[in-house]
Symmetry: C2
Subunit: 191 residues, 2 copies
DNA sequence: CCTACCGATCGGTAGG
DNA sequence: CCTACCGATCGGTAGG
């Protein structure tokens, strides 16, 4: 079979890819249809509105990060070990779901107030997991007593989220090396 | 005088602000005109095309960072001192030109290939200044021998560029504190 | 998923 | 900087 009908999941996935590349407002429904081999108007048999597509991609990004954090916290090791798991999980999400993540990071601000504030909540929740692990590491003496959990979490996440902008899988660093480099950098400034 | 005629500089500045908020494709010429108190079509007495506005804002961002790096390198202290000057300069540019910087960081990819590749060149040049200072610090023994200048520069710039996404001037950290925190984090992972 | 279409809006121009 | 307008494209719908 050379070509079959597209599923709703195909539409969402392709939307994620195009939103990541051209931006939400830079992608028309006709662009999206062309990429899928159908007309823009035919997309409306799968979805109700263009914004629905953005909501779905961004929600998936939020979910991927939160689920990754949950898995990392189930490992129940030292704070350093959990921080490593958090970083490794984030790297994995960014590299395995580049389009979703880019759309999540760069296009969520195009959502209406309601949807956007839900995304911000989810982002705060995720950041809170990093903060809490760092706080615990301070309590246990793994990290220095005057480390700032809030700022440290922001800095670590800044490095992690920037991966989307420069990391190329065909480059010198594999994902273990990049995880290691970010973890080492984090621990160095926490010690 | 309650209102006078807008200058070309007003148009470019307001475009920068709106591109930063709504994105290039999310801002129409009529939106921009409304913000300036005139019709969209009237903008064309100041400029030739919408893309001209994006080019000008993004070029200004590139220029601000390169000039900041130039000033930092004129200080001619130790590598650590120059790195501190680079970081302080970057923080200053981000906080004093938020709209230009946000447009530079997030909307440059909407430029056509020619303009975009010029921006990428300028960005590489700027990143190279960070790399070179770090390399010098390794040579002088200020930084550890197995530090990686390329990765370190990327991590420091990741933290610096993310400022645009979370820093609020009315928050707890003033710009000296944020410069200090980033510098400390950088030096910790370089030592 | 297509045909045929809708009103609204887009970037931009001519002429004043 | 406005008036008056252009062709193209936008998100979306009705009906099959």
């Amino acid at each position: 079979m050379v070509s079959t009908r597209n599923t709703r999941a195909d539409v969402v996935a392709t939307a994620g890819r195009m939103f990541a590349e051209k931006g939400y407002h830079g992608t028309s429904m006709r662009d999206l249809g062309r990429e899928l081999g159908l007309l823009g108007s035919s997309l409306y048999s799968h979805i109700d509105s263009k914004e629905d597509l953005l909501v779905e991609v961004v929600d998936e990004g939020a979910r991927l990060f939160l689920e990754s954090a949950q898995r990392a916290m189930e490992s129940s090791g030292t704070a350093s070990e959990q921080l490593r798991a958090l970083i490794g999980g984030h790297v994995e999400v960014v590299l395995d779901h580049q389009d979703v993540v880019r759309t999540y990071l760069n296009e969520a601000r195009m959502l209406d107030d309601d949807h956007r504030s839900r995304v911000v909540e989810s982002r705060d929740l995720y950041e809170g997991v990093f903060r809490d692990v760092i706080s615990r590491g301070i309590s246990t003496g793994e990290f220095k007593r005057d480390a700032d959990p809030k700022i440290s979490a922001i800095f670590i996440l800044s490095i992690l989220n920037a991966l989307e902008r420069w990391y190329r899988p065909e480059g010198e660093l594999d994902r273990n090396a990049v995880t290691e480099a970010i973890y080492e950098s984090a621990v160095a400034s926490l010690s």
